[in-house]
């Protein structure tokens, strides 16, 4: 265990709502609106923490633990992500399997929380969520495999420990990996063009509709977990691209901010993809990662 790695984790956990705000603000500016304040999610979370909640009559005793599990799994993933210069808090060979597993566990708990209400809206959203994940998961593993072959590492800290500097000749492969991870980020965190967080029609929602019947601290947990996942994936993309050095943490924060802005720009300039066309878009992540892997197999 690397206790020194805890500080950057706590820092990024603190900044996560701001990252989400940055995405919203960029999108708003591009589409010609003023947009919500950068710190709005902090206020929302504070408000939700103080509110009561309405629980569906159909839900079981497990319901109380599900939003907590969504967030706890995301925090567990943060413990495995190499955010600081010294690597991740928990580091062991093959920890990337646990990282992917924790993101999946978070999704599992979210989908079950949706099913608890017994509403068709949530069932629909859950179905879309797992469908999208089916494309995202192989792409994620291909990216990890490509990074493992580039760096020769076996854990997240060496996989994402400045691969650019270790294998400058394989830079094209790494850029492809970053591209694949970016598509993954859009899918996993429900950004335009995969999903529209600001849409108002339940029938077209994916992530938002699963949390339709959550309220109060439960909703707060899930919203915060979503922003944390966004921050983590952005940090991983940044780690693939940023140069190493003593300035690691500032670089990392700047990289996360830059990626949040890019996500906002993409959202501002593109429309949502039709649901039945989504697989074609998500296949892009798989194709990019496969190309990266093919380059590293030489």
């Amino acid at each position: 265990m690397n206790a020194a790695g805890l500080a950057p984790v706590l820092l990024l956990m603190g900044l996560a709502p701001l990252v989400q705000g940055l995405v919203h603000r960029t999108r708003a500016l591009i589409t010609g609106r003023r947009g919500i304040p950068l710190l709005q999610l902090y206020r929302d979370l504070w408000k939700l923490a103080r509110k009561g909640t309405v629980v569906s009559r159909t839900s079981s005793g497990l319901f109380a633990a599900l939003p907590s599990a969504v967030l706890a799994a995301a925090i567990g993933a943060a413990l495995l992500a190499p955010l600081g210069p010294g690597g991740s808090v928990l580091r062991f060979p093959g920890d990337f399997v646990a990282f992917a597993g924790l993101l999946a566990l978070s999704r599992y708990a979210l989908v079950l929380a949706g099913f608890e209400s017994g509403s068709s809206f949530e069932g629909m959203g859950a179905s879309r969520e797992v469908t999208i994940a089916t494309f995202a998961e192989p792409a994620l593993f291909l990216c990890l495999a490509a990074l493992a072959l580039v760096t020769g590492g076996r854990d997240m800290s060496s996989l994402f420990g400045s691969p650019m500097a270790r294998a400058p000749l394989l830079a094209p492969a790494l850029i492809l990996v970053a591209g694949s991870l970016f598509v993954l980020l859009l899918a996993e965190t429900g950004q335009v063009p995969v999903d529209d967080p600001t849409t108002h029609l339940e029938l077209t929602m994916i992530h938002e509709v699963i949390v339709l019947d959550l309220g109060g601290p439960d909703l707060g947990c899930v919203l915060y977990a979503a922003s944390l996942k966004l921050t983590l994936l952005a940090a991983l993309i940044a780690a693939v691209l940023v140069p190493p050095g003593p300035m690691h943490l500032p670089w990392m924060v700047a990289g996360v901010a830059a990626i949040a802005v890019v996500v906002g720009v993409v959202a501002g300039f593109s429309a949502r993809i039709r649901l039945d066309r989504l697989p074609q878009f998500l296949t892009a992540a798989v194709v990019l990662a496969s190309l990266a892997l093919a380059l590293t197999l030489r």
Binding site: T53, S56, P93, L112, F115, G118, G123
Partner: protein, 654 residues
Amino acid sequence: MTWFLLGMAALAIAAVVRLVVPWRAGRPASLALVLAGCAAAGGTALRVLAGGPGVEWSFPTTLPGGPWLLRLDPLAAWFVVPIVIVGACGALFGSGTFARERRSGRVATTEAMMPILLGAMALVVTAQAVVPFLIAWETMAIAGLLLILHEGERVEVRRSALVYLVATHAATLALVAMFALWGSQSPDLTFPSLQASLRARPEWCLLVLPLGLLGFGIKAGMIPLHSWLPGAHSSAPSHVSAVLSGVMIKTGIYGLLRITLMAERVPVWWGWLLLCSGLLSGVLGVLWALAQHDLKRLLAYHSVENIGIILIGMGAGALGTASGQPLLAVLGYGGALLHTLNHALFKSLLFLGSGAVVHATGTREIDSLGGLARRMPWTWATFLIASVAIVGLPPLNGFVSEWTIAQALLAGSEGPASLRVLAISLAGLGLIGALALACFTKVDGVIFLGQPRSESARAAQEAGRGQRVPLVLVSALCLGIGLAPGVALAPALRVVASTAAVSSPPPAGALEPILAGALSVTGLGVALLSIIGLLVLVRRLLLARGRITIDSTWACGYPAVTSRMQYTAASFAAPLLGMFGAASGIVIERRARTVHTRPVDLVLDRAARPLWDRLQHAAGRLRWMQSGRLHWYLLYVLATLAILLGYLAAGGIR
């Protein structure tokens, strides 16, 4: 060995007692004997796994084929452990289920066949000579058949049993052919002589291994040889399905491992063949599981998927042996062994849980259930643990073996360039995991959450104590291995190291980080559970003093909501299955007012059955030979004799 043989004897006596002694005394006595037998055999196996000496027993016989050797080596012991654990829990659960069906003769047969099946499986993995192996193999198959036929009055059960019978005998036929060819090269039919003969002439691998893959592959249920499995495993009573799916198909895996390890240096193509069959079984198995509407058929297809994952590990291990990469061999085989144990635990837990559900509601149709979490909290909690485990998520045992296999796939990149390709199979593991998640969120969400979709689901009662005890026991094992993986990982790696899979030990210090990693997995699991606990506590503090309102779910203001308006399992899976097109094995039937989806088995319904029909049609053309008159048949006998004599006269047999 004495204790092991005593355990086998106890199982045999248990069967006799159950059949002979009347109900009131016979039942508990028989159950106690089964548990004692399992404990004796399991204790011996655990001692061998802990590093005790491998024990051997030899019966001299006058039959051809040499002495009957039995040996409990580490590999056999590794398979005996899940057999006795799942067997004992299955027997306990079964006696809880049958407690109300008094004095039925059929129950007696089923309960008597259970210990026979367990004993036969334990002997299959300990037999070290062809003759006792095949006897145990056939006993296992027949005991399995009688157990599947428990509800033999239903026509679909009889049909599945017939398919099972054909498949298991096709497997035996392939094995007999394999051993006959193999034995022609060796002085007798004990495994040590067979091993020596294969090592002397490695080119025989080309004949022996494919026949073994056919025979053992049918038993293991790998695609495309799996067609018997979903029907057979869903027709049996649930605690029997737990044993069949949890451990009986593993005897196929055991056989493949045994013959692979008997060849000193397996050919490279064998490794790739196992790996590719594993990927095929894994992906198609879980996809076809997603398409099922019947809970037990769905679980049975998941066994096909998990056999695929085990084969991926074995393939990686065989490639490691073939190309002289000891780390790859140890991790690949170790992961495969570990997944064998883990799958035995969580799959039997799932089948026992489905048994509780079927017992409580009388239906296996996922779309007629719902809302069982509130009615059956124990069953729900244990079923959820098993579901998270089978998807391979931390902090449960399924994650541990997938973690090991994933590391094996990357360990290949340290070897020759051709092995770097192994890393691509990681995507296969990812896809299998994501599809399994889709499938088990569907099962959990539709069966246990929401509102009941039928009267029988509304009236469901929690499982009795006799059923809850085994459920809790197996869940504790799943959680235990998930939280302390070293307990299972270290012995699994030791078992591999004790075999011929690794000619030289892995480079110094290569395994230590992985075993230390197991400790980190413990840390991660504990951290995860404590964060969840902490957050739940915070939630309780925030929502204190009646700040939780309980009300019905918002339905856009529509007042007349019924439970039929909930999302169904079929609609949940539809978008995902649609993307796989015809490969998903779903047939959509559109009528004027309804749309139905019906899963078909692409191999059985689209290939095997049409082929059989055509064969039968062709055979019909020979019907004129069956005139029904005796003198014609006598003539046939005479003609056959004449042909055989002519063959002998021409020197057909040397």
